[in-house]
Subunit: 277 residues, 4 copies
């Protein structure tokens, strides 16, 4: 199990979310409150877009985030309008850079908290379903990355919601075939650098925690003196495994079995329904 | 702050203490109960002697112990009658192999839990007091290693108890000079491969937890059916930051401000008194 | 491309081959003479059996072997009658522990120098051919490990020579299907802890260098004053990517397209012939 | 021994010098032509300034530069008008992040190729000479970092040339005291984010190689069709351990026993003369 965050909005230094909040992601690496594990020390990663339209860059480590000096340096020197960050608590796959999130394919980034239950038993069937043109890009050995390549196989780049629903449906079908009860547990974020999709779903319908930040107009009205809120543009939004600060009214739970889209214009929330590909 | 253990007795596989007990040292790396920090993920180390009289060997890592595959392999392949193991929670010094315990000089090993308060301010004066013949062997940048080289400077190889008392007295004197209140906090273990010394002391007289195992005769009488206890020789003894198993009567707290010697014949416990070198 | 060695004979400390010879394996990590690359700094590993019949233990690293302190410590404390060691120069797969040789399955170890050409294109078909009971044990992403699991699929545990010939034949067939010219380049060693098999083969019939040590009777007659040779038992044998010392007559090239078996009784050399599984 | 480069001029992506030239710094990590060692695989580092006037940021690793994925990502996402990069071949100090160049103090960066001969013997006296206000900032155990703190002690921030001359003179005096012949071997670069100083000196007067790029006006006249040269501003200058590309006339050796200053206006070259502090 892991913790993650996704940010979209006014360009900010990574450290604004990774280090500075009371209950920042780095703090969560040692003291997660809502995670299945309190410690998330099995590697970490951050992927970010810049304003010049380049493909996203990544920095991924294999040690704990809390003692990584390079991440700290990066946090205070990289400014981004759209980034994902992840701290890992391995559920079995080795701790190695190729297993650290976010995963990347072309302009897409992907990160995951949760697991495919009994992954060892299901891994072969899931692997074989990855399109042969995508297969060579599988770099690591996690369930999370495989979910990404399955979603790409099922059309992530064309119809993201449907593709993730097909991925989930496929995982559940393979699980059923192998007699695995409640095979899927996930919160997900993925982005193409323009829009950001977040998902919360699990076979048991009791998914890992996920929150999104209240829209800024509302927040500014609630906290007229908060300078941080004034600096951010209207569309700025954060999605997190658990709240970064204790600010009443600032965080809304993503409903069980749903997805959200963060995009120019108005954000969207909808019901998530696994389907057979 | 850190957690550690020291073992002396019948040769056993390292994994018998590192992995197998309910609350093994590896379990403590994620879930310490008595430590100042619950997580000890900033490196680890083990130093061991063999029955053939060679100088001790070491294995030290910079990641968390809980996910280190090499340590697991070592645990099931190295058998030793005398070994020290340590899991680190850095109090500021970098996470690097040269800062992982145990430290070694000739046939001696040394490990420490605790800290020298305001070490940055005191480090120079402490460093200058290390004998010039020993200075080149300082490999890392921790307070713990410096305490070792100070103890060596003050005669660890000749009179271990007195040397550690001088080291503690010197640290407190330098602390006083720099206006540092209660500068020393320590539990220590050191060994020359024959005897094992353990220390529990702090300037505040409220030291970190330390326990030693009850003598085996007594334990066997209490638990006549315990096969593990029957396998071990009479003189076998374990010193630990916190109990490895919940076995009533098996662990005795090392009294505040005291030292213990584990040796052939009968073990010794005495009062620890810092002194000016 | 990589360098490796395999040892079978009188129990010796690992350092006797890893560090002490003039042109030891560690020296080859910086200054290989016969390798395609002079530097082999992309990880390393050693796997060893002990005399007590336990499954083999491993130590694998991701940095260069030449500056690894833990390997040095291990070298002077582990004694083994049968061990494999490997230094890696990646041909593209990530540098991570799960890609460091030797690979292990049950009591078997496996290491490889060479490559499957255009592996990215062929990887999916090769992966699908691994038996579903073995698939979950694939831990890394190298061609070398996949060759191991293919050989296991084709019967390595029952008929080692035939299984490796089938693996090679299968790789060449898949290569042909994908239009890859001369897909296979390999020197291999594998062992079950009793016998040791070495292979030298490539599609081009110009394989990477491989040598075995002359039998000890002959060597002792040639060098009656050499104390090292006197200490070793008659059956002692070393297989290496390149000679460890410049001792005239000590090293015999493994012929192109052949295999050798090192075993109790007399060793065997035979022709290697890829075959369709 | 090591290899390094320093860049000052039009903001460019780090990869323009780290990866793209035929004989880039990353290429030199495997295949140095002019270094004492052909392989520089014992860690690396890059320190850079941005145009917004922040203190410099750093990225430092402990593995070889050639296989570091994070460095590659950084190379294509960080743009800087002034940066230093270094690849290390350890002369004995441990391979750890705190020993990777460039070293940093406040706004200053520092990197070094060369060595203090018999450093173990001289280290204590050199350490004691560091000003007590600077002592706590010594983070690693290299001769190179100690030279930096000695230079800072002797006034680097006020009179850079004189301070480095005093540092060199002091090292030579301490060497003489300890009977070390020709104690100092160095090429150095240091910068405060505005100006860049480079030094080439050794006690033997046969120093490691060092080159600076020919001024751009001259180069453009020589190569009127070279698009790369047209993109760069007039004051752009590179200092390197060895040429990055084979472009006749592009590289000038820094004379033995001299320093250069790269700065707004005209650059300066002068004689370097160690002096007693």
């Amino acid at each position: 199990m892991c913790r993650w965050l996704a940010y979209s909005g006014s360009p900010i230094l990574l450290e604004e979310l990774l280090y500075k909040p009371t209950h920042s992601l780095i703090d969560q690496s040692l003291h997660s409150r809502l995670g299945v594990e309190t410690t998330n020390g099995d590697g970490f990663g951050v992927g970010w877009y810049t304003e010049n339209g380049e493909p996203p860059a990544r920095f991924r480590g294999v040690g704990p985030a809390w003692n990584d000096q390079n991440l700290r340096e990066l946090g205070r020197s990289v400014r981004s309008p759209l980034f994902l960050a992840h701290i890992r608590a391995s559920t079995g796959s080795p701790v190695q850079q190729s297993n650290s999130h976010p995963f990347r394919h072309e302009r897409w980034l992907w990160l995951h908290n949760g697991m495919i239950r009994d992954f060892a038993a299901m891994r072969r069937d899931l692997t074989l379903a990855v399109d042969s043109s995508l297969f060579p890009f599988i770099g690591g050995s996690t369930d999370s990355e495989l979910m990404f390549y399955l979603a790409l196989t099922f059309g992530l780049r064309e119809e993201p919601i449907a593709a993730v629903e097909k991925m989930a449906g496929f995982v559940e079908a393979v699980g059923e075939y192998h007699g695995v009860i409640d095979p899927l547990q996930m919160t997900l974020a993925t982005t193409d650098g323009e829009r950001l999709w977040a998902f919360r779903y699990s076979s048991t319908r009791v998914s890992r925690s996920l929150y999104y930040s209240t829209d800024l107009d509302t927040l500014r009205a609630m906290y007229p003196d908060n300078a941080n809120l004034r600096r951010l543009s209207d569309g700025t939004r954060i999605v997190v495994s658990e709240p970064l600060v204790d600010l009443a009214g600032a965080w809304q739970p993503v409903p069980e079995g749903s997805y959200g889209i963060i995009q120019e214009g108005s954000d969207t929330l909808g019901a998530f329904q696994p389907r057979i590909p």
